[in-house]
Amino acid sequence: MTDVKSYLRDWTMPHVLCPGCAHGIVLRAFLEAVDQLSLDRDKLAMVAGIGCSSRLVGYVDFCTLHGTHGRAPAFATGLKLARPELDVVVVTGDGDGLAIGGNHLIHAARRNIDITVLLLNNSIYGMTGGQAAPTTPEGAVASTTPAGNTEPSFDACKLLIGAGASYVARVLAATPIEMTKVMADGMSHRGFSFIEVISDCPEYYGRYNNVGGGAEMLTWLARRDAGVAGPLSNKSFVNHVPSSATPAGMMTGVLQREVRPVFAGVRRIEPDES
């Protein structure tokens, strides 16, 4: 096995992530998946939007595109259609992917373009200072919901299944081995694969809601989800115990897997058809 550090651009360190943020664990799990699949790093393109999770692409030694807020699936669509031999992975966050970029995400899923989207959900806008996101649970405190969030939150996986994603999974940043397995599985899927990773934001979410620092948040997330088993077997997922950190009724594991035609642009019209 390759040292995952060899996939990093060491000259870009130190990174921007806060102490206790699990995004680094998620990145490591991803790089291990890349290594397991023996992907050609010259042919691996990573595309991101704006936010803490999106900054990950700057640190990895692939072809990397740090685009605009929420639009990563659209950039990735052009990249993949123009050069189908590339493995294209989008890294996005809950605000980037589900608020400003929600439309692009659901349409990429609907088309079933052969890309993988990793959505790192930390239930808050971290980079801009802890504002409420579409994933912030009702009642949770954020800088723009000082008296508790009054809006219901999105279940990203249900949304993506509804939009037609042919592969949907949810994993916890607290379970890195599972994460690597699911990411390798998702990237091997032919068609649109969506993986939501429940990550943490101790700096804002943790402090505002008194749920501790990074270690406490992750331990607590892991304990809450101790029942996860066999995430790679289709439809064998368990209920995630409702908590104040994740929306009620959330399930982990592979939630959707289907085979359907992959989008590759408009087919050729023969002259006699036009």
Binding site: R9, T12, G67, T68, F75, L81, A82, R83, H104
Partner: protein, 378 residues
């Protein structure tokens, strides 16, 4: 080889794009530009190109940028409301230096405005629509034939300078059918590719003319592209020296090549006392008005910028020092007239003939203005 065909302006745009080597189109339906997409979807698969209809105009230009980074010459087309949505990625493509072509077929605005009527209301938006300091290259054809030629030129300039190029024309040109010579052997330029060792390649290290080479994703050069202010390696920086160097270079690469980019048509200016400044479809009305004024004994002439941005300040200044009156006519309430005033700097009387009611400016109207030596600036 070339072929003469009766084509619509929007079809000429699609055919020009194809001739220039465009192999990727992403767009979203909008009047009066939709025919460009409808032609591209028929043309592209035949040349192993890709067509995709995206969920909105923001996504359309994002997909175009993605395709361009994958090595394809790529284009999108839209009209006012969609052009507003594209400003975000015009800025991104400028900052990240991604070649691409954006076509704006102007209709009446603001907002939904007059979807099926002509306008020239977006010429300032084409210059300043996206936020921050940025250069702009904007071309304005005045005939269907020129749409074909300038679409090719737009691709060449985009590739040459690694920047988005905007082709802007109004609904009349977009929907008019004219007989056009469609040349198949056109001069086509492509972006500079790096030829060094990928391990020592830094994407923003620019040669003398300020335009860095650009490999495609997948070519073996692993590099980073970002809309954040970045250093020569392409990675984010907040260092003021590096920030200053980047913003200066992306301006300079267009500014120092102003002569190469700029194109201005002049007509009967040699002995003119009165000149009309007009572009796009109004340029054609103005040309006719000049001819009629000459027949009536008035020494009129025309200056028509084909390149709107960078603005031809020197050419306008030269005309202003020669004539007594410079009539500026545009289908808006006064956009480029401000630039003409800046360029003329008091050397000639500037008179505006402007309208923004969805009706074209006719030769007769302009003849009346020229004959009376006065205008009707609201």
């Amino acid at each position: 080889m070339s072929e003469t065909r009766l084509v619509q302006g929007n079809e000429a745009c699609a055919r020009g794009a194809l001739a220039a080597g465009c192999r990727f189109y992403a767009g979203y339906p909008i009047t009066p530009s939709s025919e460009i997409a409808e032609h591209m979807v028929r043309f592209l698969p035949g040349v192993d190109g890709v067509f995709v209809q995206m969920e909105d105009e923001i996504a359309s230009l994002a997909a175009v940028i993605g395709a361009s980074l994958a090595g394809s010459k790529a284009m999108t087309a839209t009209s006012g409301p969609g052009f507003s949505l594209m400003q975000e990625h015009i800025g991104f493509a400028t900052m990240a230096e991604v070649p691409c072509v954006v076509v704006d077929v102007m209709r009446g605005g603001p907002s939904t405005g007059l979807p099926t009527s002509p306008s020239q209301g977006d010429v300032m938006q084409a210059r300043w629509g996206t936020h921050g300091d940025h250069p702009a290259i904007v071309l304005a054809p005045s005939s269907v034939g020129e749409v074909f030629d300038l679409t090719i030129r737009a691709f060449n300039l985009a590739e040459r300078f690694r920047t988005p190029v905007i082709l802007i024309y109004d609904e009349i040109i977009g929907h008019t059918r004219e007989s056009v010579v469609l040349s198949e052997s056109v001069e086509v330029e492509s972006r500079l590719s790096p030829n060094g060792d990928p391990a020592t390649f830094w994407p923003k290290l620019a040669p003398d003319d300020d335009v860095p080479p650009l490999p495609a994703f997948g070519d073996g050069y692993r590099f980073h592209v970002t809309g954040l202010t970045h250093d020569e390696r392409g990675f984010p920086t907040t260092d003021s020296d590096e920030a200053g160097a980047l913003i200066t270079r992306i301006h300079r690469k267009v500014e120092v090549h102003r002569e190469e980019i700029s194109e201005v048509e002049t007509f009967m200016l040699d002995d003119a006392d009165i000149a009309i400044f007009a572009y796009g479809i109004v340029g054609r009305s103005a040309r006719e008005a000049v001819q009629r004024a000459r027949s009536a004994g008035v020494k009129a002439g025309l200056i028509r910028p084909v390149t709107l941005w960078p603005f031809p300040y020197a050419s306008v200044a030269e005309v202003a020092s020669q004539v007594d009156t410079l009539i500026v006519s545009e289908m808006n309430l006064g956009q480029l007239i401000g630039e003409v005033e800046r360029a003329a700097a008091g050397r000639a009387e500037i008179v505006g003939h402007l309208r923004a009611d969805g009706e074209p400016i006719t030769p007769t109207e302009l003849l009346d203005v020229a004959m009376s030596g006065g205008g009707s600036r609201p």
